[in-house]
Symmetry: C2
Subunit: 229 residues, 2 copies
C-alpha cells in the first residue's frame, strides 16, 4: 500500500456500490432495475446503486444496505459482495470503482411501481457496465447453487421441499432427482420443519413446511465432497 510514484491517493476517483437484487419469477432468475432519475443515463433502466458516503458508511456493505433500503425498501435480505468493477470508461463521469453486491429475495407478490424485474438472460443494453455486473452475479448464483444452500434465500418462507426443489431445478436448468434432493437437504441440516402442513393446488397430500434455521440467515452451508479425494 506504499507507492513509489504518488504520495496522495486523491485522483478524483468515483466510488459507488451497485446492487444486483435477484429473485426467481416464472422459473427465471430476474434482476431488479430502476429508472435513473439523473445524469448520466437519466431515464435509463439500471441497477440500484449510489455513491459511498464516507461521512456515514462504515464500509461499502453499509452503503449497499443503505441503497437496498432506500431504493428497494428491503431491510436485510441475503447480501454478499460480488466483486469490484473499475476503469476509466465504465462511467462517463470519470475513472470509477464500483463495489458490486448481490442480494437474494423471494419473488415479491406484486411489482412495486417503478420497479422493473427483468430476466437476467434477456436484458436490453444497460448503462455503465451493468450488463457485465449482472452476468457475473447470475453466474455466481448459479454456480453456488450447485454446491450450497444459497437458493434457499430465493424461496418465500415457510416453504415445502417440493417448492425448494423446483427452485433448485430452475437455477440449475436441469432435473434433480427428488430422492437425492431430500437426502441432501436432510444432510445439510439447515432447515427445520414448522408445525403446520400445507397443500399445493390440487386435491392431494399436503407437504411439510420448513423454514431456514436462524443461524443460516447470512451463512451458507456447503455440500460435501469437493475434490472427493
Amino acid at each position: 500500500m506504499n507507492d513509489s510514484t504518488n504520495s496522495s491517493g486523491d485522483h478524483r476517483l468515483i466510488c459507488t456500490v451497485d446492487i444486483v437484487l435477484l429473485t426467481l419469477r416464472d422459473g427465471q432468475l430476474q434482476v431488479l432495475l430502476l429508472k435513473r432519475d439523473r445524469e448520466p443515463f437519466d431515464g435509463a433502466l439500471a441497477l440500484p446503486g449510489g455513491y459511498v458516503h464516507v461521512d456515514e458508511d462504515q464500509g461499502c456493505e453499509d452503503a449497499a444496505q443503505r441503497v437496498l433500503l432506500q431504493k428497494a425498501g428491503l431491510q436485510s435480505p441475503y447480501l454478499e459482495q460480488l466483486a469490484s468493477f473499475s476503469g476509466p470508461a465504465r462511467d462517463p463521469r470519470g475513472w470509477s470503482v464500483s463495489v458490486a453486491y448481490f442480494a437474494l429475495v423471494a419473488a415479491p407478490e406484486a411489482s412495486q411501481p417503478g420497479q422493473h424485474w427483468l430476466p437476467v438472460d434477456r436484458l436490453p443494453q444497460l448503462p455503465f457496465d451493468h450488463g457485465r455486473i449482472i452476468a457475473a452475479a447470475a453466474e455466481r448464483v448459479r454456480n453456488k447453487s450447485q454446491y450450497s444452500s444459497l437458493p434457499v434465500h430465493l424461496c418465500p418462507e415457510p416453504f415445502t421441499l417440493p417448492q425448494l426443489h423446483t427452485i433448485y431445478q430452475a437455477l440449475l436448468g436441469e432435473a434433480i432427482n427428488p430422492v437425492s434432493f431430500r437426502r441432501k437437504m436432510e444432510e445439510l441440516a439447515i432447515l427445520e420443519p414448522v408445525p403446520g402442513a400445507k397443500r399445493a393446488q390440487g386435491p392431494h397430500r399436503p407437504a411439510q413446511l420448513y423454514r431456514l434455521k436462524d443461524e443460516f440467515r447470512q451463512t451458507l452451508r456447503l455440500v460435501g465432497r469437493g475434490l472427493n479425494v
Copy 2:
C-alpha cells in the same frame, strides 16, 4: 448508481490495491510481505500494494499487475480478485477502499532481499487490515483447492503427479488417496505430459513430468459433482 443526497462522488476517498502473493514453502501456505518505506506504518511489514493510478491503469487489475511487477518482479502469475475491503478506520489516512487480489506462484528458489515470506497461519500483527485480507485469501485458496485446479499454480513447472499430490495435501491438510487423485487429474484434463521423465531423490522409478495446458493458465477447472443431485 444515481444518488438521492449527493451529486458528486468526490469525498476524498482513498483507493488502493493490495496483493496477497501466496506460495507453498515447507509444506505451509506463505505470504509475501514487504517492509514499508513510507508513512503510515513506515518500516512495518505489509502486503505489497499501492494507489490506483487513474491516469495510467485501465482498471484495478492493471494496478495489481503493476504492483506485482514493481514490487515483486513478477510478470503474470495466476491472479484473481479476492474482495474489496473498505471503511473509515482501516487506513489512518482516511476512508479507504482496497481492492484486494491474490496471486499464486511456485516457491521461489531463494528469497530476494527485502522479501519476507511468512506462513499465513502464524502472522504477527499487521498494519491496516492486512491480517484480515490475508485470512480471506488463505480461506479462498484452501476452499477452492477442494474442488478446482487452483493448486496447480503453486507448483513449479514441469512437475510430477506425486509433487502435485503433496501440494494438494498440504493445502487441504489431510491425506488424499493417490489413486483417486490420479483419476481426478486425468478427468480434469488440464495437464499434458512432457516428453521427459524425472526421478525424485532416491533410486527408484522416475515420475512422468507434466505441465499445465496453456488454455488453463488463467482459467480454473472445477471438479464435477456439486450438489450431486
